[in-house]
């Protein structure tokens, strides 16, 4: 037996483990497929063609209308909801993230805050939307608060990662030369965290555009409500113009946010 063969035999045998995993995944697939059926709705194809037709031949007047019910205004409102919501979430996430960072506060407290964050993150946005409508009444204001609270979960999680990677040596050396607490925060903490926090915020703003566009489904403002009404009323040309506007806006914002984030991170 050569050395090569011996080494080959000595390798850990993992195929049983992989076989088991594979069997498990296949069992799950089989279990899930039982629920599905590819049967189309009786007039599904007709509606599919109508949607495509609406996208190709949208209601142009509706698309370039800047009154309260026009597409441009609705998109502007959606953007406003996303922007303010991101800011609300970003501000609220800062204290929570410091409370959840295990290098700042004692472990049990950090663990408790993390549990709270998991709860905040898991409640679906639409549920928050319906809860905030009770607070503010239907309208974009409820949307802002909803986006704010749904952003907290992810923002805080990413903030915590940044805080836990803080370079504490800088702070120590500042203490050694006699800096005050304020100076330590201003020149030791903020320069380390600000660019990362900003980049996270811009990323979340990008995501919130998508979230804000569906909040209208529960009456929390933005482009969602007119979209669902147009669909229920089979007004496909209006659906087409709403979707076109939404897609273009989201694409533009994504492009801009990618450029900005690259600039912020690379300095």
């Amino acid at each position: 037996m050569t050395t090569v063969e011996r080494q080959l035999l000595a390798a850990p045998r993992t195929y049983r483990y992989y076989l088991f995993l594979l069997a498990f995944v296949f069992a799950l697939i089989a279990w899930s497929v039982a629920e599905m059926s590819l049967r189309l709705d009786s007039n599904g194809m007709k509606i599919a063609f109508n949607i495509v037709g609406g996208l190709l031949d949208p209601d142009w007047k509706f698309l370039f209308d800047f009154t309260q019910s026009g597409v441009l205004y609705l998109l502007w409102e959606t953007m406003a909801i996303a922007l303010l919501g991101t800011l609300v979430g970003a501000v609220a996430a800062v204290p929570l993230s410091f409370l959840a960072a295990s290098n700042i506060v004692p472990k049990p407290l950090a663990w408790m805050t993390r549990l709270l964050l998991i709860f905040i993150r898991t409640i679906p946005a639409l549920v928050y939307g319906l809860m905030f409508i009770r607070v503010t009444g239907p309208g974009p204001f409820a949307g802002v608060l909803t986006i704010g609270i749904t952003s907290i979960g992810m923002l805080a999680k990413l903030y915590v990662d940044a805080i836990e990677e803080l370079d504490v040596k800088v702070l120590e050396s500042m203490t050694s030369i006699g800096c005050t607490t304020f100076e330590k925060i201003r020149f030791g903490l903020i320069p380390q965290l600000l660019s990362i926090f900003l980049s996270i915020m811009i990323y979340r703003f990008d995501m919130n555009m998508r979230e804000a566009s569906i909040l209208g489904l529960v009456g929390a403002g933005g482009v969602g409500a007119p979209l669902i009404f147009a669909m229920q009323g089979y007004r496909w040309q209006q659906v087409g113009s709403l979707l076109i506007g939404l897609i273009i806006l989201i694409l533009v914002i994504e492009l801009m946010s990618n450029k900005l984030r690259a600039k912020i991170v690379n300095g």
């Binding site: 629920e35 509606i47 406003a80 409640i123 639409l126 009770r134 489904l217």
Partner: protein
Amino acid sequence: MYNKIFSPKRIVLTNGKTVLEKRSKAPFVLFIICVAVYYSAQATGFNFAIIFRRINEFFTIVLEMLQPNWNYLDGILPELFVTLKMSFLGSIIGAIVALPTAVLASSNIIKNKIIYGLFKMVLSLLRTMPTLVMALIATYLFALPATAGTVAIFLFTVSYVGKLLFEAIENVDMGAFQAMQSIGMTRIQSFRYAIFPQILPSYLSTSLFCFEGNVRYAAILGYIGAGGIGNLINETIGWRDYSSLGMIVLMLVITVYVIETFSEHFRKKLM
């Protein structure tokens, strides 16, 4: 542009040389943000007074949700399983379809500009559509609500995993690929043996991460009639039965937590 409007500050050094210091852009950016926030607040009717006056309404609901209705568990479980099935099937088919799509969209494997440009465009167009809107359209097409939800999740997974994957493919080390081509392998063979092993860990880990998110997304799809636990969310809110809603949320948190723990375990192994 910016430096032309605000001329850089001149500093004369002790040896007589002058250096230019560019002005900070911070005040300018801050000004734009302030204007944007002001007009956004106008458009959305943002008002602190209302929050302080009526936020107790929010906490009344939260308090009711904190007393979950355990009897409702029997009603939740079947719908919860439908949600899990939707997200699982959508994620796995999506992840499988994402692989060839990502290969076709990466500019270092496909030399034809039109093909990879087209696939890149399809991926980014798919990504712009909010999942809920896709599910809404899908409910009109398919007879079974669960299928509509699965299709929406499938499309989202293709776009998400596909994008991250083609970025990974474009950033791999091409040396091995070229070496294999030089010894006479076809492009597909060299992809299989040179690039696939490099991207496999990140591919699997992205797919798992996407699955985690999809469970959360699938939970709301039922709200617009695309199957799963969202149905019950819609119902319980309609009845203002917040303790049952609390039970649903509790079950969701447990499910998501279990799945996250599993997926994190496997993702750590892949790293």
